[in-house]
Amino acid sequence: MKIVIASGKNEADFLIKLFRDGRHKLIVINESREYSNYLSLNNDIPVFFGDSTKRYVLEEADVKQADVLIALSDRDSDNLVICQTAKKVFNVKKTVCIVANPKNVDIFKQLGINSVISSTYLVAQTIMRESTIENLINFLSLENDEIIITEIEIEKEYNIVHKMLKDIPLPKGVNVSCIIRTPHAIIPNGSTIIEPNDRLVIVSIEKNQEPLLRIIQEKKKNAKR
């Protein structure tokens, strides 16, 4: 694959090391002379010194027809121009960029950038996950919260213990994809029985997550106090 890494600092260095397995053609562009030298020496590859938002720089770096261009500037507007120029002028197939402002994730996708990553957004999600009081629950969201994957540990007082999946009144739009019953991972069907300490991996749409958790965590009527 022909991969272009435009701008950026630590991320650029890290990515170069990740992609450097000889199978890919790497093109690296950086607008700081000092950092270009550093990247070049540290990774033993040629680095183009120039402002990636300028067409002639992308031209000289020969980015045309690249499979992926990754824009890593800390200025969102620069990343927008780099990606759009790469697509419109140089027929780069896929553009990826980071954004500092999480609000720009949706906007940049609307403006045609294939993949937009906000570190703030991801950090916030991780913090949210890590600080959930109930350590029994982990969740991951995809497609900007449209899809949630929830992993939940089943306690022995839960109502659903010893019930078959098909007999549990789960909300619509919910899929129990996998049950981890250490050391096994089971792909369940309707007749699978839920056991205590099972970890259920459930895919659902965002609005069903709360009712889902309520039903699962409902305790048996005669549970001890």
Partner: protein, 137 residues
């Protein structure tokens, strides 16, 4: 929502002159800039609104009245920022009349097919030079 305002993002000398000019013609003008002291470039006769904020933030643009704007001029000193604001104005806020100043003409291609009018100071200067030269001034 009625569109009756003019929003100018970036109180550069260019933005400031347009602001004063349109304000004198009776237009309802809002000027947005990140720095308070940029507004010093506005003439005393300017009778519109001054807002301090970052034009790259959509919430700030909304607060500045972009949804009620019939015209937007993106006149910051940074081409890339101007392009971003113009695209947001055209695609997300559907502002009918959008002007952008671009120092680097080669960047214009990303605004192709968008309802954005581009002003090239470079081109205007070249034309003026040619004109002066041919008139033997």
């Amino acid at each position: 929502m009625k569109r009756d305002r003019v929003l100018i993002v970036g109180c550069s000398r260019f933005g400031a002159s347009i602001a004063t000019n349109l304000s004198l013609k009776g237009e309802n003008v809002v000027v947005l800039d990140e720095q308070n002291n940029s507004f010093r470039k506005l003439d005393d006769s300017f009778s519109g609104y001054e807002m301090v904020g970052n034009g790259l933030d959509l919430d700030v643009l909304k607060e500045s009245g972009i949804e009620q704007s019939k015209m937007l001029i993106s006149s910051t000193d940074d081409d890339n920022i101007n392009i971003f604001i113009a695209e947001v104005a055209a695609i997300i806020f559907l502002v009918p009349d959008i002007y952008v100043r671009l120092n680097d003409p080669s960047k214009a291609i990303v605004l192709e097919h968008l309802n954005v009018k581009i002003i090239y100071p470079f081109e205007l200067s070249m034309n003026e030079f040619e004109r002066m030269r041919s008139e033997g001034v």
